[in-house]
């Protein structure tokens, strides 16, 4: 019975990469909390989940056709998840849509989810070690 890393570790290695990318986007939001006309962004996890579950019908985004290499894509996609703009609760006069408290909460949430994926991986690795040593 061979040990398959993919089945042992599950979704968590990819989850770590995605969480890291999301942390970057949220950090950029907080960095630009005072920049006029900056729009806060975030990853759309629902589109990713829907795509992976196969039901793209209710969330099919309109994709711009690119007829040249020089064309810019109509949407930004990170690891299959769309990077969308946040709807502010209360927008400010200078056109900035970053709300520090919300970004802080999302960043903390993201960090905790990262840590939980990490601790799951740690547990799986120690299980593997236990299986290898047999004691």
């Amino acid at each position: 019975m061979a040990i398959n890393f993919n089945s042992v570790l599950g979704i968590h290695p990819q989850a770590l990469v995605l969480r890291e990318k999301r942390g970057e986007i949220l950090a950029a939001n907080m960095a630009n909390a005072d920049t006029p006309d900056y729009k806060a962004r975030d990853l759309d996890f629902h589109s990713l989940l829907n795509n992976s579950l196969g039901n793209t019908s209710n969330n099919s985004a309109v994709v711009l056709q690119q007829t040249s290499q020089e064309h810019m894509p109509g949407q930004n996609v990170v690891l299959g998840a769309q990077v969308l703009y946040r709807n502010p609760q209360q927008s400010s006069l200078d056109g900035n849509t970053v709300e520090s408290h919300i970004e802080q909460a999302k960043f903390a949430e993201n960090a905790v989810q990262y840590e939980s994926s990490l601790s799951f991986l740690k547990g799986q690795f120690s299980n593997l070690l236990l299986a290898i040593k047999g004691q």
């Binding site: 890291e20 986007i25 907080m30 960095a31 006029p36 930004n76 960043f107």
Partner: protein, 138 residues
């Protein structure tokens, strides 16, 4: 390594907030510098922030830090005061005070220091995340 980008982003924001704090300090320090003409009087300085759009090679402008495009002088008129006995008074008896609004500057200072702290927190959290990742499997 892409995780280190968080440090660049938070670092750029700390740098920008630092510039903002410096302009506030300069404005407050010169809040009562009196001059004898409207041209020579100190004018409040304000930094201009702009988002950095990097990563243009793969046309994926999702993340970027913040940069200070420059420091501009406030266009508000200086405060004129009629004091003919003042040694700095001009021929018409007026002295000119800077257009610095101390209350605005204090609010600006608090906002800048809060944003700075925010970015320090981001950096600390990112550091913990990275260090824990390095300890994976130990």
């Amino acid at each position: 390594m892409s995780a280190l980008k968080v440090f660049d982003i938070a670092g750029s924001a700390m740098n920008a907030e630092n510039v903002r704090l410096n302009t506030v300090a300069s404005n407050l320090a010169n809040a009562s510098t009196i001059s004898n003409s409207a041209d020579k009087v100190y004018k409040a300085r304000l930094p201009v922030f702009s988002a950095v759009l990097n990563n243009t090679i793969n046309k994926n402008n999702t993340t970027g830090g913040v940069e200070v495009l420059g420091v501009v002088e406030s266009q508000a008129p200086p405060v004129m005061e009629y004091q003919p006995n003042h040694p700095m008074a001009d021929a018409t008896g007026y002295i000119y005070k800077p257009n610095v609004n101390s209350i605005e500057e204090m609010a600006n200072m608090m906002s800048a220091s809060r944003s700075y702290q925010n970015n320090v927190d981001v950096m600390n959290t990112a550091k913990t995340m990275l260090l824990d990742t390095l300890k994976l499997g130990q």
